[in-house]
Amino acid sequence: MKHINEMPYFLRAIYSNINWERTQFPSWLKEGELPSCIIRDLRADNNALSLWEISDDKSNLLDIVAAFVSLRKDIKYDFDYALLSANYLDELSFTHSKKPAKTAYRDMNHYHRNVSNLSINNVVYFAHLLSRHGEFDRMGWKDIEARLKEAYTRGQLDLKKMKPELKQQLGISE
């Protein structure tokens, strides 16, 4: 059993970390309630939530974010996310399994996880977990841009998967 601070994290991409900021919750919410607008950040396709495993020292965090952005059209995009310590999922017997992603950043795809067999109650519970224990943050677009350029230089990007608009912004020519 790993000590809690040696546990990896799970990353969930979110639209805006402001929406999860408790000081910005509507005043009509009762104690302990969450605003319904945040459910957009927890869309469960095929009853599964898409998460990424982040090492306990967060050393792969920027690469994972870069992998996520590698499929987009625009590099000028601040990436908001929430990190949840893996022990919270383990304790709740959520079923999470490896499901390789299909981003252009090949070496990062195996960090992708699916939390599957989720009922709506599970998703709501996950929202409460995230709100209570999640670390909400943002990765700036310039850090992401620099990391994608580095990955390109190292030959780690599958250029066929990248959109022409992003390649042009990164100065990548095939």
Binding site: A13, I14, Y15, S16, N17, I18, N19, W20, E21, T23, Q24, R40, R72, K73, D74, K76, Y77, D78, F136, D137, R138, M139, G140, W141, K142, D143, A146, K163, E165
Partner: protein, 265 residues
Amino acid sequence: MFTTELEASTLYEYQVTNLPQIKHCGYCYFLFQENPQIATQVSGIFLPSEIRGNYLYSFNRDAESATVFSASGFGQKFLPDESICERIMLLAGRFYTIQSRIQTHSYHEVFDTVSTYTPQISASDLQIEQSAISIFDAYSNEEFDTDIAYEFTNALDGLIRANGKPAVRIINNLIRKQILDDDIISETLKALGRIEDQNTKYERYELLIDSIKNESAIIRDGAVSGLSFLDDNRALPQLRMLFETDTVPILRNNIKVAIKGLETY
């Protein structure tokens, strides 16, 4: 005779000829009192106490001025206040400011009040404004955490490149009118930062700097991202000041990210 498209559901054309001093091309007659159906339709806009008398809105061909006539009903004397006239202008699809107002009983003893309005914006600006509103409407229900943000940016980019600085000014005016949701304003600010058009860079920068003072944290956050995307170091002093004074913890974190990006690269 020109007929406004807005007449179909709530208004009907009330043809009057030879009204003095104004070259008219159309009229809209608001039958608040006499037509219960119309009164119901406008009840969301006008208070019951305001639905008295009738109003005639007329406009000239180049939309350079408009006039609201107020007619008394049943021998009552009712003079609509300025706010009612302005709401009629909004109903008619234009944004006007009052130019002059006179009280008269001289026009066939029908109209009590004549209020002449001029548009707040010129006909060309009005066209830009309508194009901007069309873009906002088209994207108002979209989720911007996809490539929709890229397409939205392209749409605003096209509008700004085609119309230059007036387009930025008009977008700023629309933001200030508080008719747009915070989310779409926030995305607009991000898009204004993404656009790479040197001709309007200063105006977009000024708009973004102004928006970091907005009372909405979502809008301030959009402005912070927009300044980061604009990639202009002149914003650093204002961002540092905002970091010191903003009271929303996660927004302070986001400001720090933007500052780091501008300082490091």
